[in-house]
Symmetry: C2
């Protein structure tokens, strides 16, 4: 894959950010009593943007693209430069839930913005999941969607994205039957890293494909 | 499942933690130039404990328990109170990589500490994965292990854990063929949340079990 960009993003400096100057995230000290009644503390990173209605920070959009001609199904992943990793991350489309939205509404909106595709069907909304529970209070839901591709979409022409200013998001369509192998390939590329949630989903798929019979899962 | 504890953990206060007082995690502002050369900033939560040798913060230990009598395989998950969520999280055993360790060594050590079981075989070590790439620089590897259970382990007696002071970790053995359903059940329980990585792996398994034939994945 070629990333269409004029230059490589580059970090110019990393500075310690005082908590009272941070706008999007914060550090908290939680004081609590444990199971034995002993007072303890824990350090936590938290988002400052959680929408009240959903009570959930973000959605990730698992997706299946179904070709009109019966070709094998694919999924669309997005690749973008993520400053926290100083790397291009491979992820399913995802985003924060806006005030007043449900997880499902956020998923349909974000999927359209990042991929250009209209969702044909929402097939599942997961329970709330803890993003990185040892370190952070961030949480998310996975919304699984399907897109019935129009005739001719097999030719590889993707619809127009609706990105916000400053968003540079590449899209890659990957056949589901080669999904795990492609993620492993991306992981070997210089300055690329796969997001843990996506990698775990694909690894779970591959686990059943490779060992499902032996382990009596099929 | 009953959690054996004398009382429920309780948060007594949450206070903003100044960055220069934090010991385990920190906030950073990353200044960078994007693909168009425009200067931008990003707020990041980072761990302060990354071991130099591994270059990776943590391991999660995917695991398969294989009964000696040929009964269906299981996996062991751990449940612990996580102050960032004020909830009991369901996760695969996991831990930070100590200085001088490889991911594989950390996995074998943590698995023994948290579950009491010796690893029989390490079957896979994943590439580096980004834990929550929009918000944090934290990263991890998944190490997949197998345990050949001794005769009689089917009776449900678990070996002794080796927990550190203050660790209260319950273990639950779940049959792999009922894994996803159990995680959904846990998600419905008051004050329980499943970790996103674990949920995604189980969802990937279930996806192939339910739709693998229809989607030509098997």
């Amino acid at each position: 894959m070629t990333l269409h960009k004029s230059q490589e993003p580059e970090i110019t400096s990393v500075v310690e950010l005082p908590t009272d100057k941070a706008r999007w995230i914060t550090l908290q000290q939680i004081n609590y009593t444990d199971q034995t009644g002993k007072p303890r503390t824990w350090e936590v990173a938290a988002r400052k943007t959680r929408a009240a209605k959903a009570g959930v920070d973000a959605v990730a959009i698992g997706n299946i693209l179904l070709p009109a001609n019966g070709d094998p199904p694919s999924t669309i992943v997005v690749i973008q430069y993520r400053p926290p990793l100083d790397a291009y991350t491979v992820e399913w489309p995802a985003g924060l839930i806006d005030e007043g939205e449900t997880a499902e509404q956020a998923a349909v909106r974000e999927f359209k913005e990042e991929t250009g595709y209209e969702v044909s069907r929402v097939v599942d909304v997961s329970p709330v999941q803890a993003a990185d529970p040892g370190m952070s209070s961030a949480n998310m839901k996975m919304v699984m969607v399907e897109v019935d591709l129009p005739e001719g979409a097999e030719a590889g022409v993707l619809p127009e994205q609706r990105l916000e200013d400053g968003e540079h998001i590449e899209r890659v369509v990957v056949r589901l039957d080669g999904f795990y192998d492609r993620l492993v390939e991306y992981s070997k590329k210089e300055r690329f890293v796969v997001a843990a949630k996506l990698f775990h989903f694909a690894a779970g798929m591959q686990f059943v494909r490779n060992r499902g019979k032996e382990l009596k899962l099929l």
